[in-house]
Structure formats: C-alpha cells, structure tokens
C-alpha cells in the first residue's frame, strides 16, 4: 500500500481541502470531437481544489488540454480540469530536472526552457498537451526507439488518491503506483505535480534528413538502418497499392549543432521560431475527403519530397500540425477518429501489409498515415512495444466505425494492441488481449480505489 507523503514533501502548498468548486455543465469531447458528452466540469486552481473535489463524492476523471482523441478525459459525473493548476515550481540547471504542476503545458515548458538550452526528453506530435496528460497517456515521440516514452523520464510525481491522501511516487517509493500511473489514463488518482528531466540542446533547430522508400520492405529496411538517429518517423501513403504498398517518406532528425546553423542564425542558436497562428476557420464539408482527393494529395506529397538534408526549426520538425490550429476541422463537423496500433516486430511486416491493404481497399484513408519503429517499453498499460506503430486518421462516421473492428482483428491476430490515448471505439476484449499488464493494473486499482472513484467513459467502456 502507498505511504502518505511526508509533510516536508508538500510544504509548499496547503493540502487541506478548500471551499468546494462549483462545477458547470459543459459539452466536452476529445481532440477528435467524437464522442461528445455533457460533463460536470470542475476547474482546479491548485492541489487544494483537487482534494476538495475528490472529497465531494461523485466519480471523477482528471482532464488536461483535451488532446487525447476519444473519451478518456470525459466523465459526465465529474471531469476535473487541471489547466489552471499550471505552476512551474522548480528547475535545477545542473541536472535539467523540472518540477511543475500537472496542468503545465508542454508548449510552456519549451517556451521557458528552450531559450536556456533545454528540451523535453520526449514530445508527442503536438505541444498543446499538459504534463499530467503526457504521464497519464505515457506519450511517446519520434525518439521512442532510443529513449522510451515520457514516463521513463519522470523522476517522481505526487498523486492524489481516492481516499484523499497525497502520495509521492517514484521508482523507489510506491513503485507499483508509479508504474501504473504512467499510461494509467488518470485512473490511479489525480496527478498533482511531477518532476522530469529535460535534455540539454545546443540549438533550437533540427537537422532533418528525408529518405524515400518505394514500398513497405524498403521502409522497414530504412528504419533498421536509421536506428542510430535520435528521431525517426515515416509518413506513409496509406492509399498506395500493389508494388507501391507501404511507400513512405522517412524523416530522420538530430538536434542541430551551432555550426550546422545558417551563418546568420549562429549568433543566437537558441532563438525561438516566430509564432504563427494560422487556423482552419470553418468545418470542411466531409465530401471533400474522398478516395480521389486524398489519393491525389498523397501521391503529390510523395513525389514532391526530395531525399535531402535541411536544418529547420523544432516546430516544423516536431509540430507541423500545431502550426495549423484547429486542423481537425478539415475532417468536418462529425469529427475524426484516429486508429493507432502497434505490432510486435516479428509480425510487423505481415500485419502492416494486411492493415494497409484493408485501408487502401476501403478508400477511407487519411492525409496522415504515420509509421514508426518503437523500442522496448515497460509499464502496465503503456502502449509501446518493440515493433512498428501505425497511426491513421479517419473521418468519424459509420463507414469508419465499421472498419475499426476489422483493423482490430488484424492487430489482435498479429499480437499487437491499440493506443488508449487515440481510442474512441475499440472493445474490451481487444484491450484484454493486447495489454497483458491489465490484470495487474485492475488489481492495483482495486486496492487503492476500491469504490471506483476515478472513472472515464473510456474506462467504463473498456473495463480498465
């Protein structure tokens, strides 16, 4: 059982419940805008508010910036926003260890620390996520094969439990709780604060090499050859068929050295790129997205890319879509669902071929097919495993929802699993088959939260 935090660990904030927050009913969704639910939204300004809300009674799920695609941060009875509990608390410039509240956004971490020569150890494809959400989904980045996922870089975290206690968890203290919370989808408790290590960088730029691969075999060979690169990811044309099935553009990256910058930029190697807030101002009608428009786009994109090396700012390498705010509107009012799965390495070639064939055959493919080779991963509900992960966006709708069980069957047959942070539609059986750590996770939850205080629409749907 967890031990309560020592008084000294929590000396910098009152931990007694404050006056209860007044919730308001809000129509909420994840980033994919499917599904939507009206939730009683509580907005915590700090740890005291979290404890007061936990004490208030109903079931609850913590919510960050709502960037998980489906329903993991939705609970109609109680959804607790941590966005205003967002204080940076400490930074050690010798080790790079940052301590902050759970609602701090990754974009703020970058804005504050990159000019001082530090970068997040792991970043997902958007910087508009909170640190608490990154831990709860145990997010991975383009460097997973080299450094693991985000929770692997968390030194410790403070967790508010269902019974109102606050415990500090790390690999040494409350280790099982620590392991379960990384990737635990907010179901072990509410993360109040965390300490994690940044990595030192010499510049704010990335040296990117682009390689073309004409089919799946070439793509996989290229990934193997690129294992010494810090960052690697492939954009895959999921509508290509026949000999071209699995054709890709591989993007490999390293943090650029000062001497790799253009001469004019060397004086200020950590300069931040200019912010541009282009947005999609309206919902694009869904008929715009069809086999022909997407197929034409993909073919054009593949042909226009050159195999070359360039130095570009970190935003363009890591967050190409963040530059286009509200890009989800490209998928129309119905929203989008993303399908992200991982397949064990040995089964990847067969599994990917089957998934791509099935997707290409429906023509329901997406602009954005992303492929990446993961390294090994520990953790109870953490998504990565050694092998290939494939992420595909689809417009939400009956056609897509009919396709997903077919994709699930292919993934399950090949020993893979789907990503809870992207999921809106998978089945309980699929999760039980794919996540061998689920039994341990359920046992631990039964021990620390016997009443089932922490719950989301997803946890109920999947029996997490």
């Amino acid at each position: 059982m967890p031990t309560p935090a020592r008084a000294s660990q929590i000396s910098d904030g009152p931990m007694t419940p404050s006056r209860a927050l007044q919730p308001r009913d809000m129509a909420l969704s994840g980033w994919g805008r499917y599904p939507r639910a009206t939730c009683r939204l509580y907005e915590a300004r700090g740890p005291a508010d979290v404890l007061a809300t936990i004490a208030a009674g109903d079931t609850l799920i913590a919510r960050g910036n709502g960037r998980a695609y489906g329903d993991p941060a939705l609970n109609p009875e109680g959804t607790l926003s941590l966005l205003q509990s967002n204080r940076l608390l400490d930074f050690d410039p010798t080790s790079g260890l940052v301590t902050c509240e759970a609602g701090v956004m990754l974009t703020d971490v970058i804005d504050v620390f990159l000019p001082r020569g530090w970068f997040p150890p792991v970043t997902p494809g958007t910087k508009f996520v909170t640190i608490g959400g990154m831990i709860a989904s145990n997010v991975h980045g383009k460097n997973h094969h080299a450094v693991g996922s985000f929770a692997d870089h968390v030194a410790s975290l403070d967790l508010a439990l269902a019974d109102g206690r606050v415990v500090r968890c790390s690999r040494g203290d409350n280790a099982a709780l620590f392991e379960a919370t990384g990737g635990g989808m907010g179901l072990t408790g509410v993360i109040l604060r965390a300490s994690f290590r940044l990595v030192p960088v010499a510049t704010s730029a990335i040296r990117r090499e682009t390689r073309r691969a004409r089919n799946l075999d070439e793509t996989m060979t290229q990934f193997d050859a690129a294992r010494d690169w810090s960052y690697s990811v492939a954009w895959i044309d999921c509508l290509a068929r026949g000999d071209a099935l699995g054709r890709s553009l591989l993007f490999l990256g390293e943090h650029a050295r000062s001497d790799e910058l253009p001469a004019g930029a060397r004086r200020n190697p950590l300069a931040m790129p200019k912010k541009h807030g282009r947005t999609v101002p309206f919902d694009v009608p869904s008929f715009v997205q069809n086999r022909w428009s997407i197929g034409a786009f993909n073919a054009l994109y593949y042909r226009s890319a050159r195999a070359d090396t360039e130095v570009l700012d970190y935003e363009r390498f890591f967050y190409p879509l963040d530059g286009l705010l509200e890009w989800r509107r490209l998928y129309g009012r119905a929203g989008l669902v993303q399908y992200q799965c991982v397949l064990p390495r040995a089964a990847s070639r067969d599994g990917l071929t089957a998934l791509l064939r099935r997707t290409a055959a429906t023509g329901a493919g997406s602009f954005l097919g992303v492929l990446k080779l993961f390294g090994p991963q520990s953790g109870m509900l953490s998504f990565p495993m050694e092998g290939y992960t494939l992420a595909l966006d689809f417009p939400a709708g009956a056609k897509t929802l009919a396709l997903f069980p077919e994709l699930d069957a292919i993934v399950a047959d090949h020993g893979g699993r789907v990503y809870l942070a992207k999921d809106a539609a998978t089945s309980r059986g699929m999760i039980e088959r794919g996540y061998p750590g689920l039994a341990r996770f359920r046992a631990l939850r039964a021990a620390v939260d016997p009443q089932g205080k922490f719950a989301s629409l997803q946890s109920r749907r999947l029996g997490l």
């Binding site: 910098d12 007044q22 308001r24 204080r87 608390l89 504050v112």
Partner: protein, 247 residues
C-alpha cells in the same frame, strides 16, 4: 506611453485576476510581490513567476480586514513599491447579506473599508515620495444600486468614489490613480453563474487591460468597452422606471 517598471505589489494575489495580473507584470519584467491571507499558498505562484519570467517574486501575508496592521504591513515590505494594485473583493451572498448584519458587514469591510484604508495609507506614502501608481479594482455594480447585489454594489460605489478622490488629491503630486471596471469576469467569484459571453472577460484579459491602462496613462478603464455604454444607459434610467426593473 508611460514606462511601467520597478516593483508591483498585488493585494488579493490568490484570486484568478490577481494571478493573471502577476503574470502580466512579470512578463513586463517587473518584480512582483504577491499578497494575500494565508500566503503560504502563494509560494508556488511566486516560484512560477520566477521560473517563467526570470523576475524577482515573493509572497507576503496580508489581511484586508486587519486595518490596524496596514502600516506595519507596508513597513515590512522594505521599499514602497512603484505600483500597488488592489484586486481584493468579496461578492458575498446578497440574500444572506440583506438580512444578516454580520454578513453585510464582512462584504462592506472587505470591499470598501479594507481596500480604501490600505490604499489610503499607500497614497500618503506615495505622495510623500512624489511618485507611484495605485490601481483599484472596483465594479460596475457600484454605479447604481440594484436589488440583486446592492450590498456589494454599495461597497464598490464607495471604493469608486474613494479612488476618484485619491486621483483628484494626488494629480499634482506625481502619483497616478487608476480605477478598473471589469464588468463580468469568469473567475472563481462568479463560478456557477450564467454570464453572457459577450459581456464576460477572462482574467488574463483583465490583466492586460490593467497593464495597458498603466502604460497608457488612463484614469478609468472598462475592461470591455461595451460596459461603459451599458452602465451609462442604466444610470440614465429615471428612478421611477429603474425601481421597477429586474436587471
């Protein structure tokens, strides 16, 4: 434009508007002193300001109901800050306050007596120094007493008059006094209320308006300009008609 620099003292810094103002001034490079009751909870806010904006920031204990302690409170700060912003406020519950003298008194002491007396003490010290800027967060509720919130409104009316008087008194003494009329703001104070979106500001919008008011040398600022016209219309209603309304 007037330069905004030195140190800012924020009274009521634990509130949503106080937090937002702290960030706005720290972003401008000012040293920040956060003051509120039970100031230990402000230590994390001070750390946040130091890390994000690389400025000096600290938290101090301040109780707006302890008027006898105001002199000592200002003495303990060391140098008198260049800017003092008071965002202390207590909405209270009108239904309770209109039948409970104790509840009404708390609203009046907090919003009028406490704020007025501490800013009065600050004003005298700034006048002696010959420089400074005082910013008071009043309320459009103070512009005409309404059944819905006249206890709070009357206290804010008093504060508005006091700020006006201070401005007049100090105009030729090198000290500026700014009255902020925020209108509705989405904060903890108003949580659970159904506020019309177009009339409702966010805390960081208020903070930007406060900073801009100081930088541009304004005297009375409505955070959302539409409120100036709404209140003009409400003030213009003849009493015979106004007394029968439900606004």
């Amino acid at each position: 434009m007037t330069s905004v620099n030195g140190t800012v003292l924020i009274l009521g810094a634990a509130s949503d508007i106080g937090r937002a103002i702290g960030h706005e001034y720290a972003r401008g490079g000012l040293s920040v002193i956060l003051a509120a009751r039970d100031c230990r909870r402000l230590e994390t806010d001070a750390a946040d300001l130091r890390l994000r904006h690389a400025v000096a920031a600290r938290a101090v204990e301040f109780d707006v109901l302890d008027s006898a302690g105001f002199g000592g409170f200002l003495d303990r700060l060391g140098a008198l800050p260049e800017t003092v912003i008071c965002v202390v406020g207590l909405l209270g519950d009108q239904a309770v306050a209109q039948i409970s003298a104790a509840a009404a008194e708390l609203v009046m002491r907090t919003n009028y007596l406490g704020c007025s007396l501490v800013l009065g003490e600050v004003a005298t010290r700034m006048a002696a120094r010959g420089s400074g800027c005082i910013i008071g967060m009043s309320s459009v509720a103070g512009e005409r007493g309404r059944a819905k919130n006249y206890i709070y409104g009357s206290a804010k009316a008093g504060l508005t008059a006091l700020l006006s008087g201070l401005r007049n008194r100090l105009a030729r003494r090198g000290v500026r006094v700014i009255t902020i009329q925020p209108g509705f703001v989405e904060t903890r104070m108003t949580q659970g209320m159904a506020l019309p979106k177009i009339l409702t500001a966010q805390p960081d919008e208020v903070a930007r308006a406060v900073y801009r008011a100081q930088a541009r040398g304004k005297n009375v600022v409505y955070v959302r300009p539409i409120w100036r016209w709404i209140m003009r219309a409400i003030r213009a209603l003849p009493e015979r008609i106004f007394m029968r309304t439900d606004i």
